[in-house]
């Protein structure tokens, strides 16, 4: 059996979801992963989309977060202000799923602009959507992002959604109620925040990769920039400053 790196990433994300969890699902890979989980090991996973559909059970993968199949199969459809105010904000959601154009070593996410000047960006991205409050208020956040030098940067050009800020304790100082990004799932493996430094650290390598590529170091070895695996895989997971991009 073979699979693509993309599929592996989706499978890894699906596996991270425990049955019965309430999951705030963004479109694209998060939705694919959440639906995969619900159809396999987590039949009671509660899918919540920011369009206001609670407990959606789509039998086909939606293209948008507001496809008809979500409303038709949901336990409840509520107005958009309600989904943010009554359901997300008070911390009722276990897992928030986010993508990223850029992510930094502390799990901060940029989906706004590439470039130093917000008013004159090199690349204008779609923006925040629900992400800042998902990142703040879900009990845990899972980020799905392909590993690339463009995506994994030392410091994001723009903090759209806060991970661990500039290090341990920052979330508490900012009053963010959720734990922050507990897993970053890439096409190569899984990163988790170091319990002491809050820096993202490679803790798993997807199975196929161990055989087919030079393996990144196991858990612990990506703890800091100086000793991190990116030196060994510079084009895969380097924490570098972002360069010109056509994202």
């Amino acid at each position: 059996m073979s699979w693509t790196a993309d599929e592996m990433m989706t499978v890894a994300a699906a596996r991270a979801l425990r049955d019965g969890a309430r999951c705030f699902v963004g479109i694209g890979r998060p939705s694919t992963a959440a639906n995969l989980a619900r159809r396999t090991h987590a039949p009671n996973l509660v899918l919540i989309y920011e369009s206001g559909t609670i407990g959606a059970k789509p039998d086909t993968l939606p293209l948008s977060i507001g496809d008809g199949v979500l409303a038709e199969t949901a336990d409840a459809v509520v107005p958009v202000p309600e989904i943010f105010n009554y359901w997300l904000q008070p911390g009722r959601i276990d897992v928030g799923f986010l993508g990223a154009a850029q992510i930094d070593r502390y799990g901060n996410i940029n989906t706004t602009v590439i470039g130093d000047d917000y008013r004159d960006p090199r690349v204008r991205l779609p923006g925040a959507g629900g992400a800042p409050e998902i990142a703040a208020s879900c009990r845990e956040v899972i980020v799905i992002v392909k590993q690339s030098p463009r995506a994994f940067v030392e410091r994001v050009d723009f903090v759209t959604s806060v991970g661990y800020g500039s290090g341990p304790g920052d979330r508490a100082k900012l009053g963010l109620t959720g734990r922050g990004p507990v897993l970053v799932i890439t096409d190569l493996g899984v990163l988790e925040p170091d319990p002491e430094t809050a820096e993202l650290t490679l803790t798993q390598v997807h199975p196929g990769l161990i055989q087919t590529r030079r393996a990144p170091r196991p858990a612990g070895s990506w703890r800091s920039r100086r000793t991190c695996a990116p030196r060994r895989h510079p084009r895969r997971a380097n924490w570098q400053r972002s360069g010109p991009s056509t994202v």
Partner: protein, 269 residues
């Protein structure tokens, strides 16, 4: 109130150059035909407000209707970027576009405040993000009971609010179901409003999940079957996902877009 009229007359009466206009619909029930009519009537210098400026705002921005965009997520859902929006922000084509950028939670609450006759709303949001520095309409507010610092955003009260819905009766009472997003809020927050509907019927028989907006809270109702396409009206049509995907190529290229404007809207740029 709840006057039934044509789309053309409603837009002509409501939307003027320089107005602040919100066309809402969270993926579902987007008033796309109304947006095209605004392009066709050649409105300029609009402040466009919308949580998810998708294809319809990409088109209005490319057609030079907008001076400013107030928004929280400007993408082609499930497809990628809005290239006309991006071209306006990055290159000022066809004209520079001022932006006022929020999160969904912030925008939704701004409509709630607007609908509630309050000058601002309070939420847990934005803290620690760079949006706070770039957007003047995000400020801290202190709870007078606990001393906790939260975030305030000002009310949105557009000059004109426009949404699409499934049905209205002859008194202009509107019925909608499925994902209703911020439909009620934007109509109630706006000084004047238009609801385009799939059909006008004698009687609105009750339906599970239906939301009713009384005609007396709406300025105009216009019958525009298919008026949400490529968005959809649950019970009447399906989302045209192919159109969203095909838009990417048209939107990427200025001349393809100009050609689309001319062939589909009848406008020569």
């Amino acid at each position: 109130m709840g006057d039934i009229t044509s789309l053309r007359e409603a837009i002509a009466d409501l939307v003027y150059d320089g107005a602040t206009v919100a066309l809402e619909g969270f993926t579902h029930l987007i008033p796309v035909a109304a947006g095209h009519e605004i392009i066709r009537q050649g409105r300029r210098d609009l402040t466009l407000v919308r949580m998810t400026p998708d294809i319809v705002y990409d088109q209005m921005i490319g057609a030079e209707c907008a001076r400013k965009l107030v928004f929280s997520w400007a993408g082609n859902p499930g497809v990628g970027s809005l290239h006309r929006f991006r071209d306006a922000v990055q290159n000022g084509w066809p004209r520079p576009l001022e932006i006022e950028e929020h999160s969904h939670a912030g925008m939704a609450n701004r409509y709630v405040a607007g609908a509630s006759g309050l000058p601002f709303a309070v939420l847990r949001g934005y803290v620690g993000t760079d949006l706070v520095e770039q957007t003047a309409t995000i400020k801290p507010i202190t709870c007078p009971f606990t001393g906790e610092v939260l975030t305030a955003v000002p009310a949105l009260n557009p000059d004109v609010g426009i949404v699409h819905a499934q049905r209205a009766d002859r008194a202009g009472n509107v019925q909608m179901w499925g994902i209703t997003g911020v439909h009620k809020e934007v109509v109630l927050a706006s000084r004047r409003s238009l609801v385009t509907v799939e059909e006008i019927v004698d009687e609105l028989d009750p339906r599970p999940g239906a939301v009713i907006l009384p005609g007396w809270a709406i300025t105009y109702v216009a019958e525009v079957p298919g008026g949400a396409h490529p968005s959809y009206a649950m019970g009447y049509s399906e989302r045209d996902n192919d159109y969203y995907q095909a838009w990417d190529a048209i939107s990427r290229d200025r001349s393809a877009f100009t050609e689309w404007l001319s062939s589909h809207i009848g406008i020569t740029a």
